[in-house]
């Protein structure tokens, strides 16, 4: 994975704008992005517990945003999973619109109980 400057990469102390992720069509405003994601989280509660993200490159080297969506155990049940995943993807596409920054969006979904077992900081 390449090194776009995003949430997973600590900003250097050399220049102020090093903490701002640079993508082909401009800068990603982290506050704006975080606010948009929070509003999606709230709108889809209680199915969605939280959404985390990181910026990087996909396998083809294109700048991308990788969303990690933590679902309630109820929402992650097989009979509901497809519908819930679709609604999260659509809501993120509409509200966050990462394509306008020239980013590809990728989504991964986990249930809360799975994360409780794995306890991965990136999903907390």
């Amino acid at each position: 994975m390449g090194s776009y400057r995003g949430m997973d990469t600590p900003a250097s102390g050399l220049r102020d704008n090093l903490g701002v992720p640079m993508v082909p069509r401009g800068f990603v405003d982290q506050h704006e992005l975080a606010n948009a994601i929070r509003s999606v989280e709230e709108a889809l509660h209680p199915d969605v517990v939280l959404i985390r993200y990181s910026l990087g490159s996909d396998w083809a080297g294109d700048p991308s945003i990788f969303f990690r969506v933590l679902l309630s155990d109820e929402a992650a049940k097989p009979k509901r999973l497809q519908k819930v995943a679709q609604s999260v993807a659509m809501k993120l596409a509409r509200e966050v619109d990462v394509e306008s920054f020239g980013l590809h969006a990728y989504l991964n979904f986990r249930s809360k109980s799975e994360q409780d077992k794995l306890n991965e900081p990136a999903w907390a």
Binding site: S64, Q82, Y106, L107, N108, F109
Partner: protein, 165 residues
């Protein structure tokens, strides 16, 4: 049942194995197989247009992952533009929605396949694997709904890459 459907069935089987503690090998192979199902479905459908049946397998070898990815990215962007232009409800909008579901699922599945096959640091969960499988199942259903539509057929040709000139 044709080969792509078998792959999808196998992906689902792998994602549901080991009820209590799924093995990473099963989940990763599920995610990988969930990509190869639409990969082979689309190639199979494209080669059906070639009249000489005995040459279809040869023709299938001309499709490339990268070119199919680029075509799918372009296709889903085109679908998004149409869907967001507020068109009237009807068969054309339905067709674009289905085509978006297919091209987006292909695009997503390819990235996930790459991670599943090569990134050993990634811990997969059953929900992550099942999400990929259900995404592809939706794409299969969408393909069945529009496979004879001109838009769908143009998408199939585009999977070969950009025309010259």
């Amino acid at each position: 049942m044709p080969f792509p459907d078998h792959l999808l069935e196998q992906a689902q089987h792998l994602a549901n194995r080991e009820k209590k503690r799924p093995r990473q090998a099963s989940l990763r192979r599920a995610v990988s197989t969930a990509y190869y199902a639409p990969f082979h479905l689309l190639i199979h459908e494209a080669t059906l247009n070639w009249r000489r049946v005995n040459q279809r397998a040869t023709l299938a070898r001309f499709f490339e992952h990268g070119k199919m990815r680029a075509a799918s990215d372009k296709q889903r962007a085109e679908c998004n533009r149409f869907i967001n232009s507020n068109p009237p409800a009807g068969p054309e909008l339905d067709c674009y929605r289905h085509l978006h579901s297919i091209s987006d699922a292909f695009f997503q599945a390819q990235q996930q396949r790459h991670t599943a096959d090569y990134d050993n640091s990634k811990q997969w969960t059953r929900t992550e694997a099942l999400t990929q499988v259900t995404l592809v199942q939706g794409a299969f259903a969408s393909w069945r709904a529009i496979r004879k539509e001109p838009l769908a057929q143009v998408y199939l040709i585009s999977l070969l890459g950009n025309p010259k000139g």
